[in-house]
Amino acid sequence: MGKRIGLEVSLAISEAVKLARVDAVAAYPITPQTHIVEELAQMVADGDLDARYIMVESEHSAMSACCGTAAVGARTFTATASQGLALMHEMLFIASGLRLPIVMAIANRALSAPLSIWGDQSDVMAERDIGWVQMFAETGQEAFDLTLCCFKIAEDPRVLLPTIINIDGFTLSHVVEPLEMESQQDVDDWLPTYVPQVILDPAKPVTIGPVGFPEIYTEIRKQQDMALIESYGVVLEVWDSFEKKFGRAYKPVETYRAEDAEIIINLIGAIAGTARIAVDRMREEGKKVGLVRTRLWRPYPFEEMRKALGGAKAVAVVDRALSFGGPGGPIASELRSCLYPLENKPVVASFIAGLGGRDVSIEDFYTIVAETEKVLDTGYTDEYKMIGVRE
């Protein structure tokens, strides 16, 4: 049983990184991730975290330096958001292609232009194809717990993939939440020292990052894809062992009053808190509404999502990101693909809300459900609908 404290969620992530005994951090500051990296810098300066902290000159170099530290066997961490993540884009594919178990926290923030420092999910939704394990936290406890789990998952010899833990910028990163803080001893017991599979070592020279001709490129991609797909089992194993050790359970998909719901709201991240209140109120009013929050984003939890949502009449997907002129928000379009093989498919209505830090209110959820009922009645009128935009 951990010690119950109140802590800003960014700092909770730093605590988890410290407890994980990370060896190397290479990071560049960007709102709203700054508190994570500042706290880590202080921990190193105070001697509380025995790590090398590389104060790189850009996020691209942050991910590059992380590849360097991971390649010699160091447990490696970084954090970023928005423009920083976008700047790292090239490197993200390389980190997973080289199978380096780097853990990264992202404080999800809107992308320019116009410049926005406020939260939405457009930064990480632009990085769905990078081949990393990706998960989203809703609470400070989750942020802390999942960060610890990320190291265990990433470094598993069956996985060896870099891993992302996402938290909503400002709405989660900058709030103080109550959480159970675990002890160093308990974390040491559960998370052993990183044992790398292949490292740069003069005693055993290897060539990492060669040219892959067409004759082999497909096979290497397949190898990498299978590692991500099969990491699903490792994620479940790690969450299972986490529950046994620390008493908190995590599943790829979290459902709330969804079993008999006719309309289910599907979303990711901290706005689930507001959604739950809206669901409760609508239930009191006699509406059969439920909520499904996706926690594991990559590898995508196809079976769990089909099980949780397949029986509903309609799913109202709330995306905090948008693919302009495309098939709805990212969560919606992926859900549609997921549900496609089902004989009887629910209607999937795509809603875009909460862009650039705009609040998603209880009233917004009422609007979303009402719009979904309209779609059920009279069919689709739009590919997706933006909620709360002044027209």
């Binding site: 060896d23 190397a24 290479a26 025995d50 790590a51 090398r52 590389i54 104060m55 790189v56 000159e57 850009s58 691209h60 170099s61 590059s64 330096a65 992380c66 590849c67 360097g68 530290t69 991971a70 390649a71 010699v72 066997g73 160091a74 490696t76 090239e90 490197m91 390389i94 080289l98 020292t193 490292i199 740069l200 070592d201 003069p202 005693a203 055993k204 020279p205 290897v206 060539t207 990492i208 990052g209 060669p210 040219v211 892959g212 001709f213 082999i216």
Partner: protein
């Protein structure tokens, strides 16, 4: 000390090739030779972090690798950032007892493009943070691997595929970026220019660069028969001409003090260097004269600076 080519005894060098035969470099490649000579000094306790470029492509086509030391390629612009990570990672892991003890040379390699252009930021950051590593820039004065496109290291008047000479163009219309000067502005303990035509000089400088604690830098002129359009047996001769015309002066900057390695009162005329190269074929007499003037004035500037630095107060540039 730059030497005449018969002043030392190559057969006393370690015979083991850490950059193995069988790589896919062009016939007569000056860059491959430069790295081969660097590796003779670096030895097996070395980790090489390479940028994308000629040397990366020709030495690592899966499943062939020409490297007999640990080697990593990540991307084009970040050799120095990767090397920063390797160096820092080894430091912390050795401290924690999770990496074998002993000195490991960390060498970052980049071409002129991967260093002076796209890689400049990462290089600057790594130098500023004072990582203990050596950056070797193999400068063949263009993006050779992708087809001889111009870089900021392409000399004025050179014809490349993106700065071709023509009726309206002299080729590269701006002067070569002075990368050693930029590196020197970071006040690192040691940097030097070198050329594989002077192997003893290059290897001595490599040794110094690797032994000195902190960031060090070697700028190695790497003649390229394919891109410079000279005969395939001429790379060494071209390097020699580059040095002896003053186009590529050999010098070291030790703790901020410049030391010229070959003070040539009389230099060969630059036309001797330009003539054998197809990339300069289009130059007219007055343009060659302009090049001669620039080379002369820069060389004289270096001579003057070296004299001043030799007399400046404070610790002298050490004799090695």
């Amino acid at each position: 000390m730059a030497e005449k080519s018969t002043d030392f005894i190559p057969r006393l060098l370690p015979p083991r090739e850490l950059l193995a035969e069988g790589h896919r470099g062009c016939q007569g490649c000056g860059e491959a030779l430069a790295l081969r000579q660097v590796m003779k000094v670096a030895g097996p306790n070395t980790i090489v972090c390479s940028a994308t470029g000629c040397m990366e492509i020709v030495t690592s086509p899966y499943p062939e690798t020409a490297w007999r030391v640990p080697w990593i390629h990540v991307a084009f612009e970040n050799a120095a950032a990767v090397a920063s990570g390797v160096e820092a990672g080894i430091k912390i892991l050795q401290k924690k007892g999770r990496y074998p003890e002993g000195k490991v040379n960390v060498i970052a390699i980049g071409g002129d493009g991967g260093t002076a252009d796209i890689g400049l930021q990462a290089l600057s950051g790594a130098l500023e943070r004072r990582h203990n590593f050596t950056y070797v820039c193999t400068d063949n004065e263009a993006y050779m691997n992708t087809g001889i496109q111009r870089s900021s290291a392409t000399p004025w008047g050179a014809s490349t595929t993106t700065s071709p000479s023509g009726k309206e163009s002299i080729g590269q219309s701006v002067p070569k970026k002075n990368l050693p000067k930029i590196v020197a502005a970071h006040d690192i303990p040691y940097l030097a220019t070198a050329c594989p035509s002077y192997p003893l000089d290059l290897m001595n400088k490599t040794r110094k660069a690797l032994e000195i604690e902190g960031p060090t830098y070697l700028h190695v002129l790497s003649p390229c028969p394919t891109g410079w359009r000279h005969a395939i047996d001429m790379a060494i001769e071209m390097g020699r001409l580059a040095v002896e015309t003053g186009v590529f002066p050999l010098y070291e900057i030790v703790n901020g003090r410049l030391k010229l390695d070959m003070v040539m009162e009389k230099r060969q005329p630059v036309i001797d260097y330009l003539k054998p190269q197809g990339r300069f074929r289009h130059l007219k007499a007055e343009q060659i004269e302009e090049i001669q003037k620039d080379v002369d004035s820069y060389y004289e500037e270096l001579v003057y600076r070296a004299e001043c630095d030799a007399k400046a107060p404070g610790p002298q540039a050490e004799e090695w």
